[in-house]
């Protein structure tokens, strides 16, 4: 099974996914730059995604905790989810979503010379 992730730069990635894995883990393990600071504990809001509307009915409804954590995200709407809370299952094979810009991991800074 797979998920399709659109990144803030417009690029689209079809990622193979395993049943039982969190979508955040799928994105991270394929090496796409997702912040996911708390590692999947629903304790930050840095894996915010917008799920394509047609997939929304197939998702398990967000918990109260997830809705609360979404307060720390921006441009939240009815398609907003924390993708660490979406668990891959056969019904979600082909899931399409977009990563919110604030969930994009920083590019590594350039190395600066320093006097010693």
């Amino acid at each position: 099974m797979f998920v399709v992730v659109r990144m803030p730069d417009g690029s689209s990635h079809r990622l193979e996914a395993l049943e039982g894995w969190r979508v955040m883990e799928v994105i991270r393990d394929w090496g796409l730059p997702i912040k996911a600071e708390c590692g999947g504990a629903c304790a930050c809001a840095t894996c915010h995604v917008w799920v394509d509307a047609k997939w929304l009915p197939k998702l398990t409804a967000p918990t109260h905790e997830e809705l609360e954590m979404l307060d720390g995200a921006f441009h939240v709407d009815e398609r907003s989810r924390l993708c660490c809370q979406i668990i891959m299952s056969p019904e979600l094979d082909g899931l399409e979503l977009e990563l919110a810009p604030e969930s994009l991991a920083d590019a590594p800074p350039a190395r600066l010379a320093v006097g010693g």
């Binding site: 600071e37 708390c38 720390g72 441009h75 604030e102 920083d106 010693g116």
Partner: protein, 373 residues
């Protein structure tokens, strides 16, 4: 000067259980701004930084610990204070706060000096070859060894993705309130729905020219008593509550005139305001450590696996911030790294004194250091 609010957003305030030296004067300014000297400087008071104090302490090395948060625990305090952790050896389950408290108890005999609310800003070297760390408040700590245990970096406030917001920061947009009086008479929008947003709504409403609380839903993640107080102020007409999210700023030269909002039904609106206080919690940024001249590999610091030393002699990196073949970002890995780091740190601080490896179970010397014998 601190630019942002360090009040815990997601965590209940839990007081530090032990009285540590804080080295601040009555006004909150750090004391001895040009004078702290120690054996080892540790950046980061997360679990790995705290355990490093223990391992260094067994080697009779003193440590100063600087952290940008206002309390110990790092991610354990900021992200997981109430979340159970299941993979600490010997502790089948404990929360982030419990782990922090236990580590503080464990390192107490070694009397570390903590510098909370201090961001490691710059690194230099003295003429005697010692590392000199300067924080954003101007505090300077000098030591022969520097240990970076900074996890994912510094916790800093989330900046709303509003075009041009940087140009308003410091004039109209603030991520912290230092002196309430500076907000007297201002027309304020507070955005967010956590403790910081609600606390400042309640505290600023009585002196503001007008105050609007902007949040995307009618529920809040804040102390119920504060929410009730906000609702009282709303009934009195001192607070206006608006359901929506910030999407734009209007004004010129850093002077805000109005803020554009988007409501949940998709409609848009405008709130006349000269001040915006966004409180959306904290996020991690590597920050000034990126400019310390160390090799970086995708924001991580490569180290050897014998001493966990960086490519720069006398600078070590332990815990989530380092990388090496096979690295696992586990708290227990950081503990192991701290133990080996301490052995090597001793050689820098006391090059003439070999360190005898001893066990706490049998060594009366270590037991004296631990104040149990």
């Amino acid at each position: 000067m601190l630019l942002f609010d360090l009040k815990p957003y997601q965590a209940e305030w839990i007081s530090i259980k032990f009285a540590y030296q804080t080295r601040r004067d009555v006004t909150g300014k750090p004391m001895a701004a040009n004078g702290s000297t120690t054996d080892v400087i540790i950046i980061g008071a997360g679990p790995v930084g705290l355990f490093a104090v223990f391992q260094l302490g067994l080697a009779k090395l003193k440590a100063h610990v600087a952290d940008i948060l206002d309390r110990p625990g790092g991610q354990c305090a900021e992200l997981y204070p109430e979340k159970p952790i299941y993979d600490i050896p010997g502790l089948p389950v404990c929360t982030g706060q419990e782990l922090t408290d236990r580590l503080l108890e464990q390192i107490r005999p070694f009397e570390p000096v903590f510098h909370f609310g201090e961001m490691a800003a710059a690194l230099g070297k003295t003429e005697h070859g010692q590392w000199q760390l300067t924080t954003d408040t101007g505090l300077i700590i000098t030591a022969p060894v520097l240990v970076i245990a900074a996890g994912g970096g510094s916790f800093v406030p989330k900046r709303p993705p509003i075009p041009g917001i940087e140009g308003y920061e410091g004039k109209s947009v603030f991520y912290a309130v230092r002196r309430i009086e500076e907000f007297r008479g201002r027309h304020i929008v507070i955005a967010g729905g956590g403790d910081s947003a609600l606390d400042w709504t309640v505290n600023l409403a009585p002196i503001a020219g007008s105050l609007t609380l902007l949040h995307r839903r009618p529920d809040f993640r804040a102390a119920p008593a504060t929410v009730s107080k906000m609702r009282e102020l709303e009934a009195e007409g001192l607070v206006r509550f608006e359901l929506g999210q910030p999407v734009g700023l209007k004004g010129a030269d850093g002077k805000l005139e109005a803020m554009a909002i988007k409501r949940m039904d998709g409609s848009t609106g405008e709130i006349a305001a000269d001040t915006l206080l966004p409180f959306f919690g904290l996020t991690m940024k590597l920050g000034p450590i990126a400019n310390f001249g160390l090799n970086l590999n995708e924001n991580l610091i490569p180290v050897d696996t014998e001493k966990f030393e960086t490519g720069t002699k006398g600078i070590f990196a332990i815990g989530d911030i380092n990388t090496y073949p096979g690295k696992l970002k586990l708290i227990l890995s950081g503990f192991h790294e701290a133990a080996l780091m301490a052995q090597a740190a001793h050689r820098y601080v006391h090059p003439d004194k070999p360190l005898r490896f001893q066990y706490t179970t049998s060594s009366s010397e270590l037991q004296r250091l631990l104040k149990v014998a």
